[in-house]
């Protein structure tokens, strides 16, 4: 069961992290002197899919919760004075919560979270991803979890594509970071024993790996004010994950040799201790509270 929870978090992270793990085509100064015609990977619109989110989410169906995570209330209104950093973090939170609710078959609640995501997206000026067709797809696929996953995945690709092609990677990072914090919160809320650690061992390892990739991606934008402001928080979790991260054979993990699909080679087994999980939970809970209240 715990394993399944960890998949929720993992899914959320996947939404943001892996498509984001790509070099900026124009280097660190994308706006100052833009080349009007660039033969860039970004312009070609490639996305990198490491693992099908629907595959991961498939295992989450029909789960009974032992501890229900305390999700933020859906938003009726996004206050106009909400800064873009908090908006993006909340966007990450709500995407994670949406995935969680879908896995729990709480689709009615999920729609409220979807509505919140749309409002946050509008506020962040990324309304382009919430097309009429896409919103209709959500509505029409409410009864079919598999299809709903596919819609969520499409939305995810669209979002990442939009932010990357419009040179707004910093927002992408902040939103991803929100997703990671919320998903880690959901994951760690239900890991309270060594047995539960064992049951989620594989997922945590994958998580470690993805976090490392996210961390490396963030480093590329460490000069950006939005990213810079979050970096200390990102570092805290990285410290916990870094041990496991060192055990991986990076050279064998990622490949884009086979078109758009990226295959994950299973890293060597490394199990976070209960103490580390507890520490991780304390950090994400604290961060979460901080972000929600700021």
């Amino acid at each position: 069961m715990i394993r399944i929870f960890s998949h929720i978090a993992f899914f959320t992270v996947l939404i943001f992290v892996f498509p984001s793990c790509k070099q900026s085509p124009s280097g660190n100064e994308p706006v100052a002197h833009p080349a009007l015609v660039a033969d860039s990977g970004m312009a070609a619109g490639n996305n990198f899919i490491i693992l099908s989110p629907s595959e991961l989410m498939f295992d989450l169906q029909n789960i009974r919760l032992e501890k229900t995570p305390d999700l933020p209330e859906p938003l009726d209104v996004v206050p106009a004075y909400l800064a873009s950093r908090k908006t993006a973090i909340l966007l990450g939170f709500y995407v994670a919560d949406l995935a969680f609710l879908v896995s729990q078959n709480k689709k009615h609640d999920a729609m409220k979270y979807l509505s919140s995501i749309k409002k946050l997206g509008d506020h962040l000026k990324i309304s382009g991803i919430f097309t009429e067709d896409r919103l209709n797809s959500f509505q029409n696929n409410l009864e079919n979890t598999d299809s709903l996953y596919m819609v969520i995945v499409e939305t995810q690709y669209s979002l990442v594509n939009l932010l990357q092609t419009s040179n707004r990677n910093d927002i992408l990072i902040v939103a991803t970071w929100g997703g990671i914090v919320e998903s880690l919160y959901i994951l760690t809320t239900n890991i309270n024993s060594n047995e539960e650690i064992s049951a989620t061992n594989e997922l945590i390892e994958n998580y470690q790996f993805m976090y490392t990739e996210f961390y490396n991606y963030c480093i590329q934008y460490s000069d950006n004010n939005l990213v810079k402001a979050l970096f200390a928080d990102i570092e805290q979790i990285h410290t916990i994950f870094s041990y496991g991260s060192l055990q991986k054979n990076n050279s064998q993990i990622l490949t884009k040799q086979s078109g758009n699909n990226i295959y994950i080679n299973q890293p060597e087994n490394h199990q976070l201790s209960l103490e580390e999980i507890t520490q991780l939970r304390a950090i994400v809970t604290k961060l979460r509270v901080k972000y929600l209240n700021e």
Binding site: S26, P30, V31, P34, A35, L36, V37, A38, D39, M42, A43, V77, P79, A80, Y81, A83, S84, R85, K119, D122, L124, K125, I126, S127, G128, T131, E132, L135, L162, L163, T165, S166, N167, R168, D170, I171, N225, L226
Partner: protein, 1002 residues
Amino acid sequence: MSESALTSLIHLLSLLAYTRKTNPLSIEKALVLNFLQAQFDNATVEKYIKIFEQYFIGYSNKFEKKEKILSEIETLATNTNKQLNNRQRLFLLINLFEFSKVLRTTFSTDNDETSYFETIKLISGCLNISQALYSTLLMFVLDKFHLINSTDSFLILTGDKLGFLKNLKHEHIEGLKGFMYVLRVKKDFLLVKYLGNDNYYIDNRLLKSNLVYFFGITSIIIINKQKAIYFNELQASFLNIADSDRAMLFADNISYSYKNSNNGIKPFSFIGKSGELVGIIGNSGTGKTTLINILTGNLPLSDGKVYINGQPLTPNLRSSGIIGYVPQDDIVIDDLTVYRNLYFNTRLCLNENNTTIKQKINEILEVLGIFEIRDLKIGSPVKKIISGGQRKRLNLANELIREPLIVFIDEPTSGLSSSDALHLMKNIKNLALNNKLFFVNIHQPSDSIYHLFDQVIILDKGGYPIYTGRPGSALEYFKSISRVITSKTELYQSEQEQILSIIEEPVISETGDETSQRLIEPGKWYEYFKNNFSLPDRPRVKPKKDLPGFSRLPNAFVQFYSYFLRDFFSKWANAQYKTISLLVSPLLATVLSFLCKQHTPCSEGICYHFSENSNIPAFYFMAIIVAIFVGLMTSAEDIVKDKKFLVRERFLNLNRISYYSSKIILLTLFSAIQTISFVVISILILKIQTSIFVYWITLFLISVLSNLTGLFISALLDSLVAIYILIPIILIPQILLTGVVVKFENLHPFVSSKEFVPLVSDLMPSRWAYETLVINQFSNNPYQKFFIGIEKRQSRLSFLSNTHIPKLIELVETMNKSQAEGNVEAQTHINSAFVQNELNRITSQVNQFFNITVAPYKGDINNRRQLINYLNELNFMCGGMLQQLMAQKDALISELSSSNNLQEIYQSCYNNAIADLALNKNLLVPYHIGKNRVSQLSDPVYSTPYNIWGRSILFSSQKLLINKQVDTIIFNLVVIFLMIITGVLIIFNDIPYKIKGHYKKQ
């Protein structure tokens, strides 16, 4: 005679008798008794002879010297003078003469005579009677007619034609035996003395020989069954005004025919002169009102002409003020006092100063006997305050105050009691004697009224004139023709009823029943009329422009001011109207604001935050509907209620623009008060923070426009019912086409438009007002002013980055795909030209955000890869700039948060529901692909207009006019203002009446 006058008389008689100091009392008593019996009934005689005795005996012990008696007489006469009117004073004087005459006859010595008349002269002086009048009256009483100086005022009536009278004013009265002497004391007051042996009756009393009698307007002397003498007949003999000084109406062979009907007025002629009261008599449906209408020029003559003072009756002459018209309906303002009714009317039609106007009003009120009720409200016909007769007299006063030469009065006595009717007609008769010509249309006058007329025109069914002439001769004329003698009618019917009975005498069937067929048909009566009455010749009168009646009207501004005051006071005096008009707006504001004040949960339970009140858009919408509704309701009755005034005032040629202006200004003031109260209350309750001026002026202008709409329909329609049926028809489209109840895109395809507000909605003032209020609330609040500039740029970049550029890429892909597949017909308007146009627009817009100029695309438009790369680069730039702007906004938020409580400002000033509307947050498709362009539908408040005639999507904060961008609030207010100007021009040009006239002609 009043009791006080008679008591005074007895008192003086006793003193006069006592001067003789004769004993016993019986001789004087017998004289007084004889005198009283000649004048009064037995009960009165008995009562006053006792009073005489008491006075006489009282003096026996009081006076020793004659000087003391004279002193007492002088004191008594002076005191009596204060209690008596002029007529009563004359009565007293004449009776003293009569009594003295009796005394003189009884105790005849020259000394006594001198003594008596010296005493009466003393009394006369105390009664303020002039020496000349005193002498004339004395000579008349003493039968010394040859000593009467004013021979113009003296008339002899005789039954014989006597040659020696040729130098004296005299009249031949058929059947009169002896002489009857008439002295004209005043225009409405004659003295009559009969010298002869026959028994004649004056006002149902025996006319005793050698006694002086008063002869008033309604008095009658019965000579025999065939002959009676009426006041107007005697009065006519005294009227010796030169024709050049008289108003003269000559109807020359006039006729009128209704279309598709035999009714109308058949040809006839007559002359009416000022000083005359002309009665138009006939049963219902005989054309009395039609005759008045053609004589006044209200209806065009079918044939013939009407001349007034020798001039043909033209619209100009008609409107010169020479003609007065008093319709049957009372043209009075129920809520004003009698005085104010007259005052405002007088100010409108007379160019006089205030003092003169007040003086004239008091005079006419006195003349018509309604001075005492001058400060009473009129009251409605249902809730009467003054009587029907007083109401009629006021109605008359309204017309007569401006002193027209010729006055037409339609059914003045209808609905009045017989005494009221007679009183009114006596007033009219008196007025006619002031050298005015009155035409009175009357249905069934009593004998008293009938004989007030100097001339009657009797009409029969179908509009046949069958008699014109003196009323006293009419019965004889009809009897002579019909040869019907019905003693029954003579006994029980009035003279006029007898005439009508004769005219309509039915044929008796063999069974003895009356049939519906007449003995003499109207056409036949008309034949008799033509045969028996010769047509009068056109009088040769030199028109005089300065005749009274050619009144100079006050100027347009004075008229406006008078109309304004009249309207204001009549509205103000109506408590219900005043209360409802002034309270409806604050009341509705209170109710609406209270109900719309949505509270939301907070740490204290529930709190009110303006930002979270989702009812604000609905409230603004309702505010507009209230402004429209109240504006319409306030004005919709205004003109229709004045219709009867307008009919009468048409004769005055009053300035219509002054009339309409007064209405508009007054209603505008009402609207200002109503909208101010609405705005203030709503702001206090809902804690609205926005530009209060824009909020108020929007509601104010919309209310004024509704006032004009109300005035328009009020002028267009004739009944209140029709008006109130029309109001929803005006109101509902305003509700429907504002874009609130039904979205514009969901309207019928024939009218809906995605690019702009539909044209049909652009015609609705409510749509402009609502847009103004929403944009005002969104833009002009203390919170939004910090961010509006940056958000506008964000919005434009966001549209470019999120929608416009990706959509163009998609269209390019589609176009290329279609071309590759040879599907030329697909998306025909999405072609190279379309793409090039969009490309240029995007490049142009992008350039607005950067210091550097982005080079326009110069490659091949069909080179998909190159074009898309170019667009991607633009998108990349836009996204980067967007992110910079977001960072700027974050920094601003941070800065403001540290210096102000931004959250509090937000909660109290910014409304999310309004923002949802202004930013169209529920929109799913943020663009529209038109024929020539991809247009922005998202964030309408920040969208860039492109239609040069000011059309845009709803809530666009800018409008394009020619090539200039105009703030929507200003633009919309100007549009509403232009609608108001249009409305004013329509009303000033009398368009509603012209429309109505057009349909009436059809």
